[in-house]
């Protein structure tokens, strides 16, 4: 696909008229998707797709079109030329764009992690046979993901990975389950077997009679997965420079100094160690690291090229101004000591369906889910029935944050809206003094 994409870019480049410029972004994948329910296959299939976004710039104006490529050379060449003409026809309709920022640099790079041995059918066999005795439900996504960028500057960038992402829940009964995931580029059945065995071990805890808590404030430990749910809300405009500028960011009070996180909180967008391409959709290379929160204070933000032009800043992020590889600094609490330090409170394995209940105070509501337990005197006593929380991140990650774990977990995004996503995060667990349950 790389060759075909660059040939299409060359075709566009050769057709440019004086004063015209272009950028092209390709998102392609060849994926097998297999849904499981009751440790059997519910729905399985194959998706081959490639979407090309072509942007034409002239006289300070820009227009773009995203088209499906058929991956038939002649047909795609004809379509690209047709769309290039259509874009030219639209330029008179639009105004000069004062916020247009183009990358004037020329970068040529290619990164490829190929694994032709990776076979979804092998994974399906392992899952359905090893989990046959359990109530497993989940999804396997497996195959090649590719992203490319090209521009009239001569930039030609490519990133391609063959990978799998298996995420499943093992149910004990009702809504009581253990959620697990295994992602990588090389499938090792022994690793899956270990993860499955670990989940099976937790099923026994979930079989105990569940406890229902009364609303109120409790000590709580968030696993890295649960903490990721909380931090993901900061991608709803939190780190976005544009949203900070227009006073819509939930971290506005962090910026103005009206609120602060605990000095334990340090957050960095670490593109260098991420799984996403090192370049964004408009061809700007991402910095290796973009510090966002340092010692509890807002230190930086995510700036798209458009925002950069509008406010006179330097671009460091994608158009959506969201994290793709969020790293949180580790703390000093050994994972082995978590239950002892928690003493009595909630061990929260997963959160669910978060939303802002008061955005400007970073107040979030959501639910506990899956493996969430009541702990007494440092020992897990019972699974918890789901509870609704409503609390501010300025408190949970502020005055109420007691410790972060030494160990951090690499969490790979399992989202597949439109296409398989490539975001990831590296996070510790978090121990907090108070967490407000409301229903």
């Amino acid at each position: 696909m790389q060759h075909e994409f660059f040939e299409l870019a060359d075709l566009v480049q050769a057709q440019l008229r004086p004063g015209e410029r272009f950028t092209a972004w390709l998102a392609a994948e060849t994926s097998d998707f297999v849904r499981f329910n009751h440790a059997r296959v519910r729905q399985a299939g194959h998706v081959q797709q490639a979407h090309l976004t072509l942007r034409l710039v002239a006289d300070g104006k820009q227009v773009s079109v995203t088209m499906t490529l058929s991956q038939q050379v002649a047909e795609d060449r004809a379509q690209v030329l047709h769309q290039l003409d259509a874009l030219r026809g639209q330029l008179p309709d639009v105004a000069v764009d004062p916020h247009l920022l183009l990358a004037d640099t020329c970068h040529v790079a290619s990164r490829r992690e190929a694994n032709p041995e990776l076979q979804a059918a092998v994974i399906v066999e392992a899952v359905t046979s090893r989990a046959a005795a359990y109530d497993l439900v989940g999804i396997l996504a497996c195959g090649v993901i590719a992203h490319g960028f090209a521009a009239d500057t001569g930039s030609r960038l490519w990133a391609e990975t063959t990978s799998f992402n298996l995420e499943w829940s093992l149910f004990a009964h009702g809504d009581k389950a253990v959620k697990s995931a295994y992602a990588g580029t090389v499938w090792e059945e022994a690793v899956f077997a270990d993860k499955l065995a670990h989940a099976v071990g937790q099923l026994a805890l979930l079989q105990r009679p569940a406890r229902t808590l009364t609303p109120g404030a409790y000590r709580a430990f968030f696993t890295p997965v649960a903490l990721e749910s909380l931090l993901s809300m900061l991608n709803w405009g939190g780190f976005s420079e544009k949203q900070l500028q227009v006073k819509r960011s939930p971290l506005l009070k962090l910026q103005t100094g009206e609120a602060a996180f605990s000095p334990l909180v340090t957050l960095v967008e670490n593109s260098a160690q991420g799984l996403s391409p090192p370049f964004q959709g408009e061809g700007f290379l991402k910095p290796a690291e973009a510090p966002l929160v340092r010692d509890g204070q807002l230190f930086g933000s995510l700036v798209s090229p458009r925002t950069a032009k509008e406010y006179g800043l330097t671009a460091n992020a994608d158009a959506e101004e969201t994290t793709q590889s969020l790293h949180m600094a580790a703390g000093d609490l050994p994972e082995a000591d978590v239950l002892r330090r928690l003493d009595t409170g909630l061990y929260i394995g997963n959160l669910w369906y978060l939303n802002f209940s008061d955005r400007m105070n970073a107040r979030i509501t959501g639910m506990t889910r899956f493996a969430t337990f009541w702990v007494e005197n440092g020992e897990i006593v019972a699974p918890l029935n789901v509870m609704r929380f409503d609390d501010s991140l300025f408190r949970v990650l502020g005055e109420h944050l007691e410790a972060l774990t030494v160990e951090r977990a690499l969490l790979v995004d399992t989202d597949t809206y439109g296409a398989r996503h490539t975001a990831s995060s590296l996070l510790p667990g978090a121990l907090v003094r108070r967490f407000e349950l409301v229903l």
Binding site: F33, H46, V63, W168, V246, N355, M360, M367
Partner: protein, 484 residues
């Protein structure tokens, strides 16, 4: 489409059942933010999914190669997955006989749709944007129009081989939006036209822009944003709650629509979107709400966002009551889920695009109007709050414990609307909330709306859903505001 049909007919799948679904969608988004045109974006998305049922297994393959070779390869890939899953499938798919339909469906106005008058629409958006900057406290403002046209073909191989036409459906969608943010003294308030997620979305032509109130919305929404800046927080307490259609759509969507989806009840979604507090034994007897509650699934309503003639497994659409006089009657499940569960259902096996397989999705989920006027409902409240326009939504994975927030509230005291309040929120439990339904507004209080962004499924899908609802009054609800 005719060429693809003929190509498909020539192929020899050699399987028990094979169907082809072709989707071609063209979109254009126009936007103005802070009196500056946002970049014009268009999309042209075209591809096909082949579904195969063979020897009890089920497989699909999606491809953008619509040539004979491309479709043949897709059939082979779908057949391969049917064979792999055959001995380890959650359901013996040989037990189901999917239909072989033919027919046509068109959105209203689709045959008369004018070419996009891009410049005129951009001028309209610019005018609304400029009208919104009424005050220095307005810090962000913008207006958008998203236009979408989709052509779809569904045909089984048996139909194609016999020269039948299959199902051809032409859709046209219009999604206007206006959003204005005001800031002063450390507080930010955002007000919108129909919600910040395009609640005024419908099928049809550009007459929808007028019907949604886009013209004149810039100044009105800006004034309401400023009004919210000056407003007190919503009070805390148990009180009556009058929900307007711009909030009812989400209340209905989350706490009736999703829990009634049969694939959730069957457990397919437990790893992601969740399960349901509804169990198969509840249908026919369970009291979901007060006797005033009547809920329908109706993909046949003209103009509503998720209207169609057939679903993506070829089942013809028709109206069904899901809840009648408060009693639960019927789940939202397509042909495959009906066969798996032994329960009746509706035509709602739907896919968001050619690259995703159909699953159970609510389509147009509506509350049937009652007999109360808005004035009568307000007059009946001694102490309560009217809430309008969803801004926040959250519900547990069994679809029981919910919490919603709205952009704007107005106190009701002594049967009269009094003070505008900001950050209005409420929470409750689905299983009891709908039983507290005290009055249902008549047709004059009803709005036809929806959401373009309903997420569900593995792999994930975002799909279009329609909701029509009157204003509804609930008793004794847990209401609260923002941080003190």
């Amino acid at each position: 489409m005719d060429t693809i049909k003929k190509t498909f007919a020539r192929l020899r799948p050699d399987v028990d059942f094979c169907a082809l679904r072709v989707v071609e969608t063209r979109g254009e988004t126009l936007a103005v933010r802070q009196d500056v045109q946002e970049p014009l974006t268009r999309s042209v998305d075209r591809g096909a999914m082949v579904t195969v049922i063979h020897a009890g297994g089920y497989g699909y393959a999606a491809t953008s190669q619509l040539t004979e070779a491309g479709l043949q390869a897709a059939i082979q890939e779908a057949k391969r997955w049917a064979e792999i899953s055959r001995t380890r499938s959650v359901f013996d798919y040989s037990q189901i006989a999917l239909p072989h339909p033919s027919g046509q469906y068109h959105s209203p106005q689709v045959a008369h749709a004018p070419q996009v008058q891009r410049r005129e629409l951009l001028e309209l958006l610019m005018a609304e944007s400029r009208a919104a900057k009424v005050d220095d406290r307005i810090v962000d403002w913008g207006a958008t129009i998203a236009l979408l046209a989709s052509r779809q073909l569904y045909i089984t191989h048996a139909s194609a081989a016999q020269g039948e036409s299959g199902v051809e459906q032409d859709f046209q969608f219009v999604m206007p939006g206006v959003s204005v943010t005001a800031f002063a003294n450390g507080d930010t308030q955002t007000r919108s036209l129909g919600g910040q997620y395009n609640g005024y979305c419908r099928q049809g032509g550009q007459e929808i822009l007028q019907a949604a109130g886009l013209v004149g919305a810039g100044a009105r929404v800006a004034r309401e944003a400023l009004e919210l800046l000056a407003a007190p927080n919503c009070p805390t307490g148990q009180m009556d709650l009058l929900l307007m259609p711009e909030q009812m759509l989400l209340q209905l969507h989350e706490s009736i629509g999703h829990p009634l989806e049969l694939d959730r009840i069957l457990g397919d979604e437990r790893n992601y979107a969740g399960t349901s507090f509804v169990t198969p034994d509840m249908f026919g007897t369970y009291r979901y709400g007060s006797e005033l509650l009547n809920v329908s699934s109706d993909p046949t309503v003209a103009n509503e966002f998720a209207s169609y003639g057939w679903d993506d497994d070829g089942t013809p659409a028709q109206k069904h009551l899901l809840i009648r006089d408060g009693i639960l009657e019927r789940p939202l499940g397509g042909a495959i889920s009906q066969a798996r569960s032994g329960l009746p259902g509706v035509a709602n096996a739907r896919a968001c695009a050619w690259n995703r397989a159909p699953i159970d999705r609510m389509a147009n989920l509506n509350i049937e109007p009652g007999d109360a006027t808005l004035a009568e409902m307000i007059a009946s409240v001694e102490r309560g709050v009217l809430m309008d326009t969803n801004v926040s939504w959250s519900i547990d994975d069994s679809r029981n414990k919910f919490q919603f927030g709205c952009e704007r509230g107005v106190l009701i005291e002594g049967g009269k609307l009094t003070t505008v309040v900001k950050n209005p929120n409420y929470r409750g439990i689905s299983a009891t909330f709908w039983r507290s339904l005290r009055r249902v507004g008549n047709a004059s209080t009803s709005q036809t709306m929806g959401t373009p962004f309903c997420g569900k499924g593995e792999p994930n899908q975002i799909i279009r859903v329609g909701h029509a609802s009157p204003a509804c009054l609930f008793g004794d609800v847990d209401v609260f505001g923002g941080e003190a």
